[in-house]
Symmetry: C2
Subunit: 220 residues, 2 copies
């Protein structure tokens, strides 16, 4: 906890990823507002009631305006919509942690990607919100492991991509508080192409291993 | 060496990957013919002279006709050409180990992929040569490590994709002889989409770590 600074944090999205990260942040002592499309989303309300008084909820814009750091935990297909609802003015100058995966279910199972190869969702978001400091991370593993990497028997790696060094340091400190020892800074936001394209092997490994409880470790 | 059966093996391609794998197979006692576009390629000749008498060289067709197992170690962009030169009749019924990466340098550095997301080079080759038994493997790491994974301090993983169970077992036995302990069978050849899309993070990890001497380990 050496890097521990209490912060106001927004979680955009009420799915399993948002709930996992939001709950972990509450446990770490932060104030967390979960944002969704509507002012009183039942899932966000249930979460805020369960984890209050420092857990609260509101619209995407309410959450982003409240926060110093914003986590994008929406589905990749609707991330730009959600961030537009959050509002450029509420994201300006803030660290925007992008955990989303640009999943494409329209071409059958397992899912493919809506963006890949010569672009990424992380870059798309950075281009759409040039005054936010986008850091792509945690998008390569199961949400339980995101906030509790020690659930695996052996150490593993988490990756980080972003253009702003201070934002990456801030996120890195949060990741350490989540329990991460090996945080690999891949470079600028274009390196999100690398981590987003781990999804295709991730879904097939889940099939082959019969569990989502695994992660990539970079062996040297 | 418990699975050791001496075989006649073709290496298509005279680059670093072909030389690494061909040399390792010679060291293991196999007969290896390196194939290229011409009957007397200087690099193939040099290799055969250095590693003979069980190392030989010839055209793609000579090598494929000679072999029981064929390794595609050509550049991904020219793999189909090379395999067409090798000849459908020379690949029929044989295990075709596809190590190639569909690199695209036309869109700048680091390279992107010519095929990805909803298709893969492995599948493309299997469709073009339906009577060959394509097994995609070893395409996720540096050629030195392909044949000597113990160069890394810690254990790591190698992946395998293919439609034919016997071909995968044959390849698995060769991989064990190369020194691999953790061989993960991802499933049919469509799972090559997963391993081929590791390239984008691999090139960026090489940049971030400053070395190609690393590999993915699946931590559980």
């Amino acid at each position: 906890m050496s890097n521990f600074i209490l912060m106001k944090i927004a979680i955009l999205g009420t799915g399993m990823v948002g709930v996992s990260i939001g709950t972990k942040l509450i446990e770490l002592g932060h104030q967390v507002k979960m944002g969704s499309r509507t002012a009183d989303n039942p899932k966000a309300r249930e979460w805020a009631d369960a984890y209050g008084p420092y857990a609260s909820q509101g619209t995407f814009a309410d959450a982003a305006a409240f926060a110093e750091i914003v986590f994008n935990c929406t589905h990749g297909q609707s991330s730009l919509d959600a961030l537009n609802l959050a509002g450029k003015e509420n994201l300006e100058g803030k660290t925007l942690v992008d955990v989303a995966i640009p999943l494409d279910f329209s071409k059958g199972m397992p899912p493919s990607l809506t963006i890949c190869n010569t672009d990424s969702l992380g870059e798309t978001i950075q281009r759409a919100f040039p005054d936010a400091k986008v850091v792509k991370t945690l998008n390569t593993l199961n949400c339980q492991l995101m906030v509790n990497p020690k659930l695996l028997k052996s150490d593993s790696s988490v990756f980080m991509s972003g253009n702003d060094a201070n934002a990456k340091e801030e996120v890195s400190n949060l990741l350490k508080d989540f329990g991460w020892n090996e945080i690999i800074d891949l470079g600028d936001i274009t390196t999100a192409r690398g981590t987003e394209q781990l999804l295709p092997i991730w879904v097939r490994l889940m099939g082959a291993l019969g569990t989502p409880m695994f992660n990539f470790k970079i062996a040297r």
